[in-house]
């Protein structure tokens, strides 16, 4: 058998090939939608056609067999058409309303919940963690599983929320999980400066790149054993790990001190408010695998306090803006510390330059 020819720069398959016929026929001609119940949407076209969507939770990290299982369901209920969402849920696109319940039953028989629409907690956007990244200060998939186990009733809509609530996890400050704009975020953090392996460093790394990598200019050139090297001004290091990203000889992982921080009040949409960054809630909680009980409890507490206090259509950040940060710390019982006070480049803009405290 001759080796098949490789092809390059062909790009992804054209999306049209993958569109359900109803979608293809009504492309760009949708009129409105309704959320029939949590996890179930109907979109109605100008001409009256309808497409039903069942959204289901997914672990994102999965086996090819799991994908095949999803394909089985898609074939059984919706002519093989399925998609994934920007938050890694899976969506089944149904022409036939009657297939909705059987599909949901099949899913739930396999431990998969429908949900994630409208005013629910959707899937957690997350990253690789210990599963696949060298940079990780914590795991992602396990942490997400632990949190979602606890919050699943908010995903399915069993417990109602004032509005959408979006959680993200990133396992290091690179923030591949884009936790910087989430209602609640969990971020893996280091708490000690990198340890330098001088020998590897001079072989492997470019000194200028290392120096440029430090957000706080804490890395200075130096000479070690006659070789050009670097040293870290530990007083100016805030453990971001970026020097490690550019230079493998500056590992920063430290099982004793790595852990997670909790962030709140970000959002992406332009609905009502402009997009907002996530702000620090809890500077540090220990890495406690396999179930990170401290982190899970912290997130749950915030969700519950939000659910009790927010008004309809208020995202977490909007709720906090209304009640004020002092009240947020008060209601959640979270301690406000020196760490909460910004000291990076826009710090001055975060001081309270008014007598208005709420």
């Amino acid at each position: 058998m001759s080796t098949p020819q490789r092809r390059t720069d062909i790009g992804p398959p054209h999306y049209e090939k993958f569109l359900h016929p109803i979608i293809k026929n009504n492309y760009g001609k949708w009129k409105y939608h309704e959320v029939l119940k949590p996890g179930v949407l109907v979109h109605v076209a100008e001409g009256g056609d309808k497409i039903y969507t069942v959204r289901a939770g997914s672990p994102r990290l999965m086996s090819s067999d799991f994908v095949r299982f999803l394909c089985d369901l898609a074939e059984k209920y919706c002519d093989g058409y399925l998609r994934f969402t920007s938050r890694n849920n899976v969506e089944f696109l149904l022409a036939n309303k009657d297939n909705i319940e059987p599909l949901i039953n099949d899913l739930s028989a396999n431990g998969i919940s429908a949900g994630g629409t409208k005013n629910t907690i959707s899937n957690i956007v997350h990253t690789q963690g210990w599963v696949h990244c060298h940079s990780a200060a914590t795991d992602a998939s396990g942490l997400v599983k632990a949190v979602m186990d606890e919050l699943c009733d908010y995903f399915t809509g069993k417990i109602e929320l004032p509005h959408k609530l979006r959680i993200a996890v990133a396992c290091c400050l690179n923030m591949c999980g884009a936790v910087h704009c989430s209602d609640i975020a969990i971020l893996g953090v280091h708490r000690r400066p990198p340890k330098i392996n001088y020998e590897r460093l001079s072989n492997l790394c470019e000194i200028p790149s290392i120096i440029a990598s430090c957000p706080l200019a804490a890395i200075r050139p130096t000479i070690i054993d006659g070789k050009k090297s670097v040293e870290v001004d530990e007083d100016n290091c805030m453990y971001c790990g970026n020097c490690y990203t550019v230079c493998p000889a500056m590992p920063i992982a430290d099982p004793l001190n790595d852990g997670v921080s909790i962030w709140v009040g970000g959002k992406v949409s332009n609905a009502r408010t402009t997009p907002m960054f996530t702000k620090l809630a809890i500077p540090f909680l220990p890495n406690n695998p396999p179930r990170w009980p401290e982190a899970v409890a912290a997130v749950k507490n915030i969700v519950e306090v939000y659910a009790r206090g927010a008004k309809k259509y208020e995202r977490v950040g909007e709720w906090i803006n209304r009640i004020g940060w002092p009240k947020f710390f008060d209601l959640t019982g979270i301690e406000f510390t020196k760490y909460h006070i910004d000291d990076f480049k826009y710090a001055g803009k975060t001081y309270r330059t008014t007598t208005q405290m709420v």
Binding site: G57, Y81, H132, A178, P251, P255, A271, P289, Y313, K345
Partner: protein, 393 residues
């Protein structure tokens, strides 16, 4: 004690949310790579630290990106994890699939790799997790023959992604899927062969709800919007009111610009005062729709914190019509890349570069006129670099 080799991970088999451990343990029965991955992960759970080594350059011929090299520091204990590279497969626009296509892909993956996937990566790729260096070329060959190509990694244009837009959303103000496909095809070279100062991400959202988080997560954010008036169907408004929606509380009072009026009979919007935030439309999609003069707002510069702090994208072109062949857009992209090429430093994202050079200077260099829509407010400090002045005669 349990017999299991992964007692810690086994805890994650419990609970209401689907368990990746349960799933991967099943896979491990046929995939040695998956088995060793779980073994190494268990070790991480025990040690509370990662067991992956830093980077390592691997790839497929002629491509600079699309593969992330990954080597274990516990390869002796877990040989299947010793090489465990990632292959980023460029997903179809909007993450639409047929089961046939996915099955074909999974079969190829099982043939060469661990059988583990991410549906999907944070940037949008379909991620194949765990393949040996030697299998990269054959895997790629099979993929490409099945019509799949790689996505981006490294200092290149990353795999563009988009919300499902007109495929299933009535709010879409331009064709996000078509544009994403077009951009992806137009910039195949930039996507596969890193030559930028750093990574560059495109994300296309059909409306200001920004369901693909483009304003937070892409260097170049294209967000649909309209210029004319919100379309109102007063009958449907009445029906919402009749069906119990509290229009005063949920719409009028929540409008950030205070420009909705509701007298119990008709809804009025002061479109001049409206910031097109989508809220009223989101609440009453049957009754309200974006206007008809649609296009997109182009924003630039979002990124995660490192080095200069996280940034959101900021407005570059308040409104642009987006119709194939998208010449105006592509010309702008080209001018920006030329600028970046000339002025960008290594590992400096475009957003950081603009902040360093100054938005005003950047505009001049890419040939855009400054407009107040680009800023939340004019400067409040008097440190102005005047460029016009008189010389003594």
């Amino acid at each position: 004690m349990s017999d299991s080799k992964t007692p810690l991970l086994d805890e994650l088999e419990k609970g209401k949310w689907p368990s990746f451990v349960k799933d991967l343990k099943k896979l491990a029965q046929r995939s040695p790579k998956a088995k060793d991955l779980l073994g190494q992960l268990e070790l991480s759970y025990k040690d509370k630290m990662t067991h992956w080594k830093h980077g390592g350059i691997v790839g497929v011929k002629g491509y600079g990106g699309g593969v992330i090299g990954r080597f274990s520091d516990a390869g002796d204990q877990f040989p299947g994890a010793a090489h465990f590279h990632t292959v980023r497969v460029n997903q179809p626009s909007g993450w639409f699939y047929t089961s046939t296509a996915l099955r074909e892909l999974m079969d190829i993956w099982d043939k060469y790799g661990s059988g583990i996937v991410n549906m999907h990566g944070s940037t949008g790729d379909l991620i194949l997790l765990g393949v040996d260096t030697d299998n990269l070329e054959p895997l790629f060959t099979d993929l490409s023959n099945a019509d799949w190509d790689l996505g981006g990694s490294g200092s290149d244009a990353r795999t563009p992604s988009c919300c499902l837009g007109p495929a299933r959303c009535e709010f879409a103000c331009y064709d996000t899927l078509a544009l994403t496909y077009d951009i992806t095809m137009t910039y195949q070279d930039e996507l596969h062969r890193p030559f930028f100062p750093y990574k560059w991400k495109f994300k296309m959202a059909g409306c200001p709800n920004d369901c693909v988080a483009s304003i937070a997560r892409s260097d170049f954010s294209i967000i649909g919007i309209w210029r004319d008036n919100i379309r109102i169907d007063q009958d449907e408004i009445k029906k919402y009111a009749d069906s119990g929606l509290n229009i005063a509380a949920d719409v009028v009072n929540k409008c950030p610009k205070n420009c909705v009026e509701w007298d119990g009979k008709a809804l009025k919007i002061d479109d001049e005062g409206c910031s097109k935030c989508m809220h009223c439309i989101n609440v009453m999609p049957k009754a309200l729709r974006p206007g008809e003069d649609k296009g997109a707002c182009i924003l630039i510069g979002a990124k995660a914190p490192i080095v200069e702090g996280a940034q959101l994208s900021s407005v570059l072109v308040p409104f642009m019509k987006l119709e194939p062949p998208y010449d105006e857009l592509k010309s702008l992209i080209r001018r920006i890349w030329d600028f970046w090429d000339e002025f960008g430093k290594a590992r400096e994202r475009i957003g950081e570069c603009i902040q360093r050079i100054g938005l005003g200077n950047f505009l001049e260099k890419v040939g855009l006129d400054p407009v107040p829509q680009m800023v939340l407010q004019p400067r409040d400090n008097p440190y102005i670099f005047y460029e016009e002045y008189f010389e003594e005669e």
